[in-house]
């Protein structure tokens, strides 16, 4: 039963392609969730018909790709709003029919079609939303670069969740890790006067949250969800209290950390589109570009990764092969904390240089959603986080362009996407089988 739809399952190494052939499952093996894909496709295609096509903008929409300082100029993309809306709607409808036929013949909706569908829908939405603004021209580079910046803490949060959940511990406490990381960075950075000390403190702070999570959920086998939620509330209360009593009263001493360096790599950063996204970053942003492939490699290509995935799926099997399940879970949860801490430092050492009460404002939960949307895969989680980041950034970009759309609606967007994603409307999502269950040796 290949439930995990057609994700090219990097876990299965080189036979990923060979396995692809096995998609021709007898309808018997189709999980109920896989049958939802055509439904989700259909609903969104209908949205596209009503919004992008019937209510499509009459004016042309311009997407700027090159900036002034770029090495060479790429011409702007100009598309007619209404026609694009119709073209995309028809394409979405075609994909819906395709998915429906596949499921009816007992086969899964392939991943490429989900990705293509998502890309088309996002394009349609962009054309429609920019087209309905007073000034229908937007810099694609700015939109993406801003989205990446907003995605940075989400990505680190997701990777932290990934480390924990792949080894079988549900980490609801990502929010708490990010917030405590941000707080620790602010206070340590201010007191020491060094942003690097702040970064280190952020990692240690978030790892402390992990430590509590690990002790209660692994050692004492308390329900992992409850520990996670309680930790979030605890960290929020604790940092809020210390903020009011300490940081606010003497902001100069305790709440004015120096900024971590940001720098552009010469030449490379002047490439159109990708230059600013990849090569003009804060140090934390560069860390992110490093962390994603490193975690991916570690999870899918190393002994540690194989064992981590095994204890998240079938801990007893790992135990009978001499792997110490609970020790490994403990270490992984701590490692996850260190990673989340880097993300937390982004708030107080990169984006602004002071801590405010509850400044992560739910990013940890979005990171958790990105993890699930990204199917517990580092690259998937990054793409999901990027989607959320771009959606948030769109809101501020559009307010500059002057759109008639209420900003509250745009602010809702990342959360709507989250619900659709987590509900599995765009393909089945199967997490580690033993996540959430403490391992008890008889």
């Amino acid at each position: 039963m290949s439930t995990a739809t057609q994700t090219p399952a990097p876990g299965h190494g080189t036979q990923g392609e060979a396995h692809e052939g096995a998609e021709h499952v007898d309808p018997a093996a189709l999980p109920a969730s896989a049958r939802r894909a055509p439904l989700g496709f259909g609903v969104l295609a209908l949205v596209s018909l009503i919004v992008f096509a019937f209510n499509g903008p009459d004016q042309s929409v311009t997407f700027r790709i090159s900036g002034d300082g770029d090495l060479f100029q790429v011409p702007n993309v100009v598309v007619p709003g209404l026609v694009t809306g119709w073209v995309i709607t028809i394409a979405l409808a075609a994909l819906t029919v395709f998915a429906f036929l596949r499921v009816r013949s007992g086969r899964l909706t392939p991943t490429w079609s989900v990705v293509l569908y998502g890309a088309l829908f996002v394009a349609g939405f962009l054309v429609w939303v920019v087209g309905s603004a007073n000034n229908p021209s937007v810099s694609l580079t700015g939109l993406l670069a801003g989205g990446v910046a907003l995605a940075v803490p989400l990505v680190f949060g997701s990777l932290s969740g990934l480390m924990c959940e792949r080894s079988g511990v549900v980490n609801i406490a990502i929010e708490g890790q990010l917030l405590f990381g941000a707080f620790s960075a602010a206070i340590a950075g201010s007191v020491s006067g060094s942003a690097w000390v702040g970064l280190l403190a952020a990692m240690i702070g978030a790892a402390l949250v992990s430590l509590v999570l690990a002790v209660f959920s692994i050692t004492y086998r308390v329900n992992q969800m409850i520990v996670g939620v309680v930790l979030n509330v605890l960290v929020s209360g604790l940092t809020g209290f210390l903020f009011a009593t300490l940081l606010e009263s003497d902001a100069g001493r305790f709440n004015s950390p120096p900024r971590l360096p940001s720098f552009a790599i010469p030449v490379l950063s002047e490439l159109p589109l990708v230059g600013r996204i990849l090569f003009d970053q804060s140090i934390v942003g560069y860390f992110m570009w490093l962390a994603i492939p490193i975690v991916w490699f570690a999870v899918y290509r190393t002994r540690w990764g194989l064992r981590t995935r095994a204890i998240g799926e079938h801990p007893k099997a790992a135990d009978t092969l001499g792997i110490n399940v609970n020790r490994m879970r403990f270490v992984n949860v701590l490692l996850g904390g260190l990673i989340a801490g880097i993300g937390g430092s982004f708030y107080t050492l990169v984006s602004v240089t002071s801590f405010t009460r509850d400044m992560t404002s739910g990013a940890g939960y979005i990171a958790l959603a990105a993890l699930i949307f990204g199917r517990w895969n580092p690259i998937g989680a990054f793409l999901a986080a990027l989607l959320f980041g771009v959606a948030s950034n769109l809101q501020s970009v559009l307010s500059f362009l002057g759109t008639s759309m209420p900003s509250q609606f745009l602010a809702m967007l990342p959360y709507v996407i989250t619900i659709l994603a987590v509900a599995g409307l765009v393909g089945a999502s199967r997490g580690p089988a033993s996540a959430g269950q403490p391992y008890v040796k008889e």
Binding site: G11, H19, A22, P27, A28, T302, R307, H314
Partner: protein, 546 residues
């Protein structure tokens, strides 16, 4: 490898699961550990595999005392174990599962290629036909078991522990496994074979050690008769066959026609099932687990949506609620008593009236009549010989056999028009099996149509007046109780009865030859089951091989 256990005692609190157990496994020997469920076989093997530490006693490998603090120590000593519930990660490939725990590395990254070539090597040597890149959850159970064996062999296991390896296999797969065991033995691997199935044990073992209540009762040669072995296991003489008179089949009571069940994901779980059961006869449903038996029972009870028709004495049951079906006179013993048959934290007395709480005997108005419930409990406990400290003890604290007696007592304590029992003796001690089988036959003799769903062929043979074989949700045929094992086995693997009869099975592997008469009453499946003549039945197939 020579392995010796000396005076092993393992206590959990004050309860001794193993007491002074000593046994020696010689190199290249198949040593069987025979005992009932709960006799302490698995505990002993977990001690040997390092999962438990013995309370006292020692383990000697090649005459040197060793101490196992975990499975890795046992693995290092060359001891491998195939667990009853496979220890395989379902979403991993065969190679990943085999590599896990003893991975070869190439720099920082995994080197699965080495593992793959080792798997191919072993697979070729033993004719396993296992693809290293197949995902484990896509493989049939028999192949998964081979992956487990490969896991042990890759780690150079010289002694292999097989814990109830045949429980999940079809008869054909079982025969293949026994052949593999002999082959392993020829290559010098010692095997500890844990089982409670006498037929297999006698077929393959060199030495049989019988364990009862955590203690070694004695070692015997495989030439011992099944009766002797069973007596050692249980501690008293047991009759392995059920004494039952010829079925006095009456009129057709239950008629199932074109029953089809489609699962929530659109899968057909039961396809056009046609069968009927007459009053006073036992129809046994045979098949390997997961071939639609559970769905059949659930559809009958109204737990599952079904199309087609199920008529009990002319009344349609399809589309009725569970309550209505029960009121129509269906008694049901579910497959898994601990989750579906009982409420563990409820008392024995409460469990005995779980589906009778509406009965005016046990309630007045909105309240329950505690005294009547308690009196009922005393009565049933005596009648069904339920061994419990008190009627107020939690059902979960009773042994499996006694829990099962509660369920059966409850279901038989109201007038029935149909009795349906799934796996009535799974995990039940031999002593209780005897009792439960007698009760089932008594129910039949009182004129109730009975359906038994069982994956144990021995049980099917012991009880059945007719045998219906399920495969992939379809009925392969209904045959007489004297149909030989091989034919049933092939039907359970998906051959229709006519196909099996057309190609005579190869000789060997024992089992009674088909008596000429069996051709007669094994007519086209479900043709007209009423005219089944219900002749006397050879009840215990193993007796014939002795």
């Amino acid at each position: 490898m020579k392995l010796e256990l000396r005076e092993i005692t393992k206590k959990f609190g004050s309860f001794a699961a193993n007491r002074n157990v000593s046994l020696t496994v010689e190199p290249g020997e198949i040593h069987c550990l025979l005992g009932e469920n709960g006799a302490g076989k698995s505990t002993l093997m977990n001690v040997l595999y390092g999962l438990y530490q013995p309370t006292s006693g020692e383990i000697l490998v090649d005459d040197l005392a060793v101490e196992f603090n975990g499975p890795s120590d046992a693995l290092d000593c060359g001891i491998g174990m195939v667990h009853q519930h496979f220890m395989l990660v379902p979403v991993f490939t065969v190679a990943e599962n085999v590599a896990l725990g003893s991975e070869s590395l190439k720099g920082a990254s995994l080197d699965l290629e080495t593992t793959r070539s080792k798997i191919r090597e072993i697979s070729d040597q033993y004719g396993f036909a296992v693809d290293p890149d197949a995902v484990v959850e896509d493989l049939p159970v028999g192949v998964q078991q081979r992956v487990e064996i490969i896991k042990a062999l890759v780690r150079d296991a010289e002694l292999l522990i097989l814990d109830e390896p045949t429980a999940v296999l079809t008869p054909k797969e079982t025969d293949e496994l026994l052949a593999i065991m002999r082959q392993l033995k020829e290559n010098g691997t010692s095997i500890v074979f844990i089982s409670h199935k006498l037929r297999e044990v006698r077929e393959v073992s060199d030495v049989i050690t019988v364990i009862r209540r955590g203690e070694v009762v004695g070692s015997v040669s495989p030439q011992a008769t099944p009766g002797e072995l069973a007596a050692m296991m249980v501690g008293r003489e047991v009759s392995l066959s059920v004494t039952k008179a010829e079925a006095q089949a009456g009129e057709e009571a239950l008629v199932v026609s074109d029953l089809t069940v489609v699962g929530s994901n659109g899968v057909t779980l039961l396809e056009n099932l046609n069968l009927s059961v007459a009053k006073g006869e036992i129809l046994a449903v045979a098949g390997v687990q997961g071939n639609g038996q559970v769905e059949f029972a659930e559809a009958l009870l109204g737990l599952r949506k079904a199309s087609g028709s199920i008529r009990l004495e002319g009344k349609e049951l399809v589309g009725r609620s569970v309550r209505q079906v029960l009121e129509a006179g269906v008694g049901f013993v579910p497959e898994d008593r601990s989750t579906d048959g009982l409420v563990g934290p409820f008392s024995v007395a409460e469990n005995l009236v779980l589906d009778l709480y509406k009965d005016p005997r046990f309630r007045s108005g909105l309240s329950l009549r505690k005294r009547a419930i308690a009196a009922n409990a005393e009565e049933r406990i005596a009648e069904f010989d339920i061994r419990t400290g008190s009627a107020n003890a939690h059902a979960a604290t009773l042994s499996g056999g006694n829990q099962q007696k509660i369920v059966i007592a409850r279901e038989l304590s109201r007038p029935l028009k149909l009795f349906l029992a799934s796996q009535p003796t799974r995990g039940v001690d031999v002593g209780s099996v005897e009792f439960i089988h007698e009760r089932i036959v008594a129910e039949r003799d009182s004129g109730v149509p009975v359906i038994i769903v069982s994956t144990e062929l021995d049980e099917v043979y012991a009880l059945a007046d007719r045998i219906a074989v399920f495969f992939h949700g379809r009925l392969m045929g209904i045959v007489g109780p004297d149909t030989p094992r091989e034919i049933l086995g092939q039907m359970m693997a998906g051959a229709t009865e006519d196909e099996v009869r057309a190609t005579p099975p190869p000789d060997g592997d024992g089992g009674p030859q088909p008596p000429a008469a069996s051709q007669r009453d094994a007519g086209p499946s479900g043709d007209d089951p009423i005219h089944h003549d219900g002749r006397a039945v050879p009840n215990a197939p193993w007796e014939e091989q002795a």
